[in-house]
Amino acid sequence: MEVKSLNLEGVWVVEVAGEINLSTSQALKKSFEKLPVKKIVVDLVGVSYIDSSGLATLVELLKKTKSQGGSMGLAGMSEKVKSLFEITKLDKLFQIYPGQKEAVNSIK
């Protein structure tokens, strides 16, 4: 799994590529810890696989962001990854955008 962070118009964009699973979700959590959480977009366009621990890591980030009065969005999910959010009703919890641009424009 690779994680790249960049700041676009005041929004922290975290681009994740690869698999978010039990062996990589801790590393993802650590990369989130380094970022200020006021406005954050997690771009999942490069994510080919996610398991329940990956979903839990994103939920933890959402909780942290909300507790500090911030906003968070998810972007670029594949149909398969998006279906897992829908199955677990996490699509009701997260703001989900088709792409990074739409997410940044909404969150900024």
């Binding site: 699973n21 039990l22 398991d51 979903l55 839990a56 199955i87 677990t88 996490l90």
Partner: protein
């Protein structure tokens, strides 16, 4: 066992770092079925969730204990995967619904739910230390 059934059994040490390797071996065994990517994704996810639960909650991460994995398929019909731990079992009914509003923000509890949603049939034994998951499919071509 039906004539066109293939079966493979694996004994997996309780070590979370070995889950993906075990899952890869199981998926390699299923390769002749030429299942589509979405089907393979579902099977892989459910298998790994079941293995993780068996190691974490069933065997309580005790290194000396094993997880038994049996993968069977009937070409053109279904894949059956059984995961069994050496623990004392658990009450399947005690698993809360992760999609209820009060549980949505929880940091755990989605694995079993995903298995139920992605597989066509899921059965736990009475003790709660063995799960059988069935995925039915049609030939790709």
């Amino acid at each position: 066992m039906a004539k066109n059934t293939e079966r493979k059994e694996f004994q997996i040490p309780t070590d979370l770092s070995g889950v993906q390797k075990a899952s890869a071996k199981a998926l390699a065994f299923l390769k002749p079925l030429d299942l589509g990517e979405p089907c393979v994704f579902d099977i892989r996810l459910c298998l790994e969730e079941a293995l993780i639960n068996a190691m974490k909650y069933g065997n309580r991460l005790e290194k000396g204990l094993q997880v038994r994995l049996v993968v069977e398929y009937e070409a053109g019909r279904e894949v059956r995967i059984a995961v069994e731990d050496q623990g004392s079992g658990f009450d399947v009914k005690s698993v809360e619904d992760c999609t209820q509003k009060k549980n949505l923000l929880r940091g755990h509890g989605r694995g079993v739910y995903l298995i139920h949603q992605l597989m066509d049939e899921v059965k736990f034994n009475a003790k709660g230390n063995r799960v059988l998951m069935v995925k039915r499919f049609k030939r790709q071509h």
